[in-house]
């Protein structure tokens, strides 16, 4: 069964980064988000951070921390679960 948080994160990534020719379902849980076949870079990572901060109320303080959080969809979901108010995750 799919994880609703991961599904939501994938949708956010496609929308926020205006990914062309990519659907949320095509994003793998465990592949690196940055520097992989998606051609995402550090600015994409930061744009995602802004969206995540707004969406889940989490705070990511530095570019180093954002790099760790965005290692993969699975890693990001874990990061959000550990930091965000559960009500916002459900939301």
């Amino acid at each position: 069964m799919s994880d609703p948080l991961k599904t939501r994160l994938k949708q956010l990534i496609v929308t926020t980064l205006k990914l062309e020719d990519v659907t949320p379902a095509e994003l793998a849980d465990d592949e690196p988000l940055i520097g992989s076949g998606l051609n995402l870079d550090s600015i994409d990572a930061l744009e995602l951070v802004v969206t995540l901060e707004k969406e889940f109320g989490v705070k990511i303080a530095s570019s180093e921390e954002s790099r760790q959080a965005l290692a993969s969809i699975a890693h990001l979901a874990e990061f959000i679960r550990a930091r965000a108010d559960p009500a916002r995750i459900a939301g």
């Binding site: 600015i43 303080a61 180093e64 954002s66």
Partner: protein, 368 residues
């Protein structure tokens, strides 16, 4: 390409949060840090980040911009008249000009701010206020802007198009720019420690304005070589092999051959760029001491090349260069000097700056 024409530096000056060039130089020698923790968006709040504002200036935008008195005071120390006439061109350089005014307009709806919001409106206003003529060329390439102004002024002198040339740089921080750097996650609660080998990088931002008067044959200092390189690799990252830094420095190595140089690096406090920059500088100029001053002054953006030129010339004139204020060991390179040092056993300084887009610029300054 390296520029073989040696132009003279007839005069230079700067204004930072620590005062004019002499006051700033003295404060840096004492190890003073101008940066203070302030809300990133000024009156609109946000997390506290290290910012350095010129004394008496409020952070939030006013109409006209509240940095005009500071600029007037700086320009009042500039000798000569007729700037902006045919034979005395002005090269204005900035990254942000008055763009903070557009932020103020968007937030508060006061149309009075619009008169300063675009680069040309801002520079036209400034030229009127400072009594400059129409021969004002405006250059904007983020944090290497000032270097480009120096090179264009050099070329105008070389071609005989000018008797003397004024390069004027300014960047006064606003929520527009602090918000942007904060979004890039390199302006955060941490204070900058340029070239320090630590877990998290961070920068500070500071106000800066400066001028340099260049001539063909008058002045105590010479700019003996200038170099540019644009990696065009990534907007906010450099090539991982440091080739962009090396490509900019390479033409200067020949010009510095046989001279005992010291290095004034860009050194904002970010980790990747600091590591690459210090490695490239020490590879190009082995054994040369390396310092950067943004750990105290903050990054003065488009003005940094000219602000630091004024401070480097003050260092040569006084025989003492400030160390890398705000930094402690371990550093990326043993060449990084934390404490002040004597410049009396050196012949020249290599001044380097870098900018978004992998832009690199450097020049050599020495006694004439």
């Amino acid at each position: 390409m390296s520029q073989p024409l040696a132009v003279r530096l007839q005069a230079s000056g700067c204004l930072t949060a620590l005062g004019n060039a002499v006051a700033t130089h003295s404060a840096l020698l004492r190890g003073e840090v101008a940066l203070r923790a302030r809300p990133v968006l000024g009156a609109d709040g946000g997390e506290s980040v290290p910012l350095a504002l010129v004394q008496g200036r409020g952070f939030d935008e006013t109409a006209p911009p509240n940095w005009l008195p500071a600029v007037r005071a700086l320009v009042a120390t500039l000798a000569g008249e007729g700037w902006g006439s045919a034979r005395r061109p002005v090269f204005v350089t900035s990254s942000n000009f008055g763009v903070g005014s557009l932020y103020a307009y968007r937030r508060h709806g006061d149309a009075a701010h619009l008169a300063f919001g675009t680069p040309h409106l801002c520079v036209e206003w400034l030229a009127r206020e400072l009594g400059w003529g129409a021969n004002v060329t405006t250059v904007s390439h983020a944090c290497v802007s000032a270097h480009l102004g120096l090179l264009l002024a050099t070329r105008a002198l070389e071609a005989g198009l000018a008797e003397s040339a004024l390069v004027f740089s300014f960047d006064f921080i606003s929520p527009f720019v602090t918000g942007g750097f904060n979004a890039l996650k390199i302006l955060n609660a941490g204070f900058p420690a340029p070239y320090a080998d630590r877990a998290t990088g961070s920068i500070g931002l500071g106000d800066g304005a400066a001028f340099a008067v260049l001539t063909r044959d008058t002045g105590d200092f010479s700019i003996t070589a200038q170099s540019l390189h644009n990696e065009m690799h990534h907007f906010t990252a450099n090539r991982a092999d440091g080739a962009g830094f090396a490509a900019c420095l390479e033409p200067l190595r020949g010009a510095a051959a046989g001279r005992r140089v010291w290095l004034k690096g860009h050194g904002t406090g970010t980790l990747e760029a600091g590591k690459l920059e210090s490695a490239a500088l020490t590879a190009a100029f082995p054994d040369a001491p390396l310092v950067a001053w943004k750990g105290s002054l903050g990054h003065t953006l488009g003005s940094c090349g000219l602000v630091e030129l004024a401070l480097a010339s003050e260092s040569i004139r006084s025989g003492h260069a400030p160390g890398t204020v705000g930094t402690s060991t371990p550093t990326f390179s043993p060449a990084v000097i934390v404490e002040p040092f004597s410049t009396q056993t050196t012949d020249a300084v290599v001044c380097a700056s870098n900018a978004f887009g992998g832009a690199h610029a450097a020049f050599i300054l020495s006694h004439a």
